[in-house]
């Protein structure tokens, strides 16, 4: 119903009228417009990404040069080290990958790609960002309270996390779990909006199979998130009670069970990987179809593999707990379900590679990012097989092999996927083209160092180096010179990669000031967002919402002059 009523007339928009000039506060601080909320999420997420990256800089310097005065931080104490790695992980997943991939792209793209003027519930949308911002402030503030920030790893296993006398961070642990819980509330609110909007506000004529893949992926991801987050929120409340009220849900001395938390955490934690993966593969689908001028290979297959992966992801969580003291017979079941995931994920990757077949491929910056996603994620996928195989996990568990593996999945998702989407939709968001030379320099200086950081860590992990240990010189087998050389190599590459992000921010700044005007459709893409003005005004299509006549990927259709066939063009 909302698609036929301009935004200004929706009852929710009571505060402002269509002729009323919005104040700065209304427009930028408390907006109801989905695009502005998306930008809030995007830039908050990027700011948190910079903070998380700088955390990595501090602890990697400590690993490469133990005991040094890290420029900008000073001596890294064991307590510092633990809280930095803990919050690096938490921030990168909960405050970077989630807000940017789901909330920012979801908010920006869903209404524009399905031809709606806004989200169905703009005020819930605004509330979602405000709760999210509060959670981000709490997690950052935890660094400044007595005892410092929580340092019990992003998995927060009790009793370490539940008892202050063990963690030594009486406030930090509670702030951590509070921030995480609030962040989940924010995404529950956002998820309601994404699913409702995509199901109810589509342009007239847009059938389920005409929805662009990225919208589908964000909807499926939101459903996965909603279905998996409940147990962890309950666990979070129990953990908070254990910390602050002295309950004993996870305290073995008083009848609790620490392993219970692990089940609750990973029942959410594993689907969470696919919650952030799916929007990224959706973005990649949009980008590779446009720049290879090809229809997405087997649209429905991609959709079914996404749903299949999502369903399977609920059955694999205990592969994180093989050696945690669960009944050893359970490991056999979870090994089978885990390896089964390789089938739909491999199918998805093959479909993307098949989409390139027979294309007319150009390689502008967004396409480079999208292709890099496919290649790097392949490495992340295959290295997961080592860990999913229970027998091998006995040795590999909690080593740097695990760390390198999940960075090869999360980095393509959260960083490469984000850059693919951001550079692709930048002309729509701001009406200016980005600088290609700077964009390509940024691409190569990000992707090559990424591999130089994490390939050596596979080797170190296979050699038995464990995670979360702040100084390896205490371990004769890990203090060998060749290992230290690899650590230094990884740290140097990290510094190069972090430095290269300055190019990205300079590119945004420069392109906003003096970029070439983009026009409505600079990439000759067929989806609906490219029929709106760049940037789209409040209400997206003031001239009237578009109709939809065909699927989203009609490129190089035989017998037509143009090599793309916009979704809104009548036959």
């Amino acid at each position: 119903m909302a698609e036929s009523i301009p935004a200004e007339h929706v009852a929710d928009h009571g505060e402002h009228h269509e002729h009323h000039e919005m104040s700065f506060l209304e427009k930028y601080v408390f907006p109801l417009d989905h695009k502005m909320i998306a930008m809030q999420y995007m830039f908050t997420g990027m700011a948190m990404g910079v903070i998380g990256g700088l955390f990595a800089y501090v602890f990697r310097m400590q690993l490469a040069f133990p005991g040094m005065d890290v420029p900008g931080w000073g001596q890294v104490t064991p307590a510092d080290y633990n809280s930095l790695v803990t919050n690096h992980g938490s921030i990168m997943i909960f405050w970077v990958a989630m807000p940017v991939l789901i909330a920012a792209f979801g908010n920006y793209l869903i209404p524009l790609m399905i031809g709606a003027d806004d989200m169905v519930f703009p005020k819930i949308n605004r509330l979602s960002y405000q709760v999210f911002l509060l959670s981000a402030i709490i997690i950052l503030a935890s660094f400044f309270v007595e005892g410092g920030a929580f340092g019990g790893a992003w998995t927060s296993y009790p009793p370490l996390s539940s008892k202050p006398q063990y963690s030594l961070t009486p406030l930090g642990s509670s702030m951590w779990i509070t921030a995480v819980a609030l962040e989940f509330v924010a995404f529950l609110l956002g998820g309601i909006n994404f699913i409702t909007t995509a199901m109810n506000s589509r342009a007239p004529g847009m059938k389920l199979w005409d929805i662009p893949m990225v919208v589908w992926m964000i909807v499926i991801a939101s459903i996965l998130f909603m279905a998996s987050v409940g147990p962890l929120l309950a666990g979070g409340v129990m953990l908070f009670f254990d910390q602050q009220l002295g309950t004993a849900f996870f305290d073995p001395d008083r009848g609790g069970d620490p392993i219970l938390w692990q089940h609750l955490f990973w029942f959410f934690g594993h689907p969470e990987v696919y919650v952030v993966l799916l929007p990224a593969v959706g973005i990649v689908a949009e980008v590779i179809t446009v720049f290879s001028r090809k229809k997405l290979f087997a649209y429905k297959t991609v959709l079914y593999t996404a749903i299949g992966t999502g369903v399977l992801s609920f059955t694999v969580w205990a592969h994180h707990q093989f050696i945690a003291g669960i009944d050893p017979r359970m490991a056999n079941v979870f090994t089978v379900t885990t390896l089964l995931i390789s089938v739909p994920i491999a199918e998805m990757m093959f479909v993307y590679i098949a989409t390139l077949y027979g294309g007319s491929i150009t390689l502008p910056t967004p396409m480079l990012w999208a292709l890099a996603f496919i290649f790097e994620f392949l490495i992340g996928g295959i290295t997961g097989i080592f860990l999913g195989a229970s027998g091998e996990d006995i040795y590999m568990h909690d080593t740097y092999f695990v760390l390198a593996h999940f960075h090869y999945t999360f980095y393509p998702i959260a960083i490469i996927g984000t850059f693919a989407g951001f550079t692709y939709w930048f002309p729509k968001m701001f009406g200016k083209m980005m600088d290609e030379t700077l964009g390509k320099a940024h691409f190569w200086l990000t992707v090559i160092p990424f591999n130089v950081i994490f390939l050596p860590l596979f080797v170190l992990g296979a050699a038995g180096q464990h995670r979360r240990i702040y100084d390896f010189t205490n371990y004769p087998q890990l203090a060998q010179p060749w290992m230290q050389d690899l650590r230094v190599l990884a740290t140097v590459a990290l510094c190069v990669m972090l430095g290269a992000q300055l190019i990205f921010f300079y590119n945004i700044f420069k392109s906003l000031r003096s970029g070439k005007p983009a026009g409505k459709n600079p990439w000759n893409a067929a989806t609906l967002e490219w029929t709106a003005a760049s940037p789209p005004p409040h209400g997206n299509w003031p001239e009237g919402l578009p109709n939809c006549y065909r699927g989203p990927y009609e490129y190089s259709v035989p017998g037509r002059d143009k090599d793309y066939w916009p979704q809104n063009e009548p036959a």
Binding site: S167, K295, I323, G325
Partner: protein
């Protein structure tokens, strides 16, 4: 092959884990090389050329889609091979508990390890037990059971040279086994974050011949110490 090259392999089952690693390496390496080869080939082969539009392929056509479906056959076969070997290795190390020749107790706490070795009577829990801190002494070619406990938070008893890892959980005693096959001195790491000192609880495992070990036991048992050196320390606490 690969793991053995990177670090010592010193237990009866380490070779099995190393073999499994090689198998997985080959079985995921082949699909990876094919997929990434095709990926780069397509990018180069189908670069934009003037006057040559992209092909219109929906991907639903049988002649194209069959390639995607056929790829499932080798992947499923590879998965089955990996599962069979992995479960077999898992069963050997974690589910099966072969008859022990000796038993030790491993107690983890923030942030140290205490190891209790049976004395000359080879029975744990008697007066002649030998406790040590941060140093575990075992005999080569002897099958040990370990009883793993924790006094406070989760820890993990990890001996990379054995390819062995097991979480220690407060309130539980977890039993496992190992049999050293090589003399020498190796790292014991804590592999589960356990607080500020997590990186500072390194321990060593010393593997010696049966004769050397028997001599060490005889020499260090509290009973023999009491007999010979009445004024000395009651337990030989190793340097941390």
């Amino acid at each position: 092959m690969i793991l053995n090259y990177l670090g010592p392999s010193a237990s009866t089952y380490a070779g099995q884990i190393d073999f499994l690693f090689d198998v997985i390496f080959v079985l995921v390496g082949i699909p990876f090389l094919i997929a990434s080869g095709l990926f780069f080939y397509f990018i180069l082969r189908f670069k934009k050329k003037d006057g040559q539009p992209g092909m219109y392929i929906t991907g639903e056509e049988h002649e194209y889609k069959k390639w995607i479906h056929r790829a499932h056959v080798p992947i499923l076969v590879f998965d089955v091979v990996i599962v069979v070997i992995a479960v077999n290795v898992w069963y050997t190390i974690k589910q099966d508990l072969p008859e022990q020749e000796s038993t030790i107790r491993v107690v983890a706490q923030q942030w140290a390890w205490t190891f209790e070795h049976p004395g000359p009577d080879n029975v744990l829990g008697t007066a002649d037990d030998i406790p040590t801190v941060n140093e575990l002494r075992v005999a080569k070619d002897t099958l040990y059971h370990f009883k793993l406990e924790s006094l406070d938070v989760l820890h993990n008893f990890s001996v990379p040279a054995f390819r062995l890892k097991q979480d220690a959980i407060p309130g539980r005693v977890i039993t496992g086994w190992f049999e050293p096959t090589q003399e020498g001195e190796f790292d014991i790491q804590c592999a589960e974050i356990c607080g500020i000192g997590h990186g500072l609880m390194p321990a060593r495992i010393v593997i010696e011949s049966k004769e050397q070990h028997a001599a060490w036991v005889a020499e260090n048992s509290p009973l023999s110490l009491a007999a010979h050196v009445p004024a000395g320390p009651t337990s030989p606490v190793a340097k941390p």
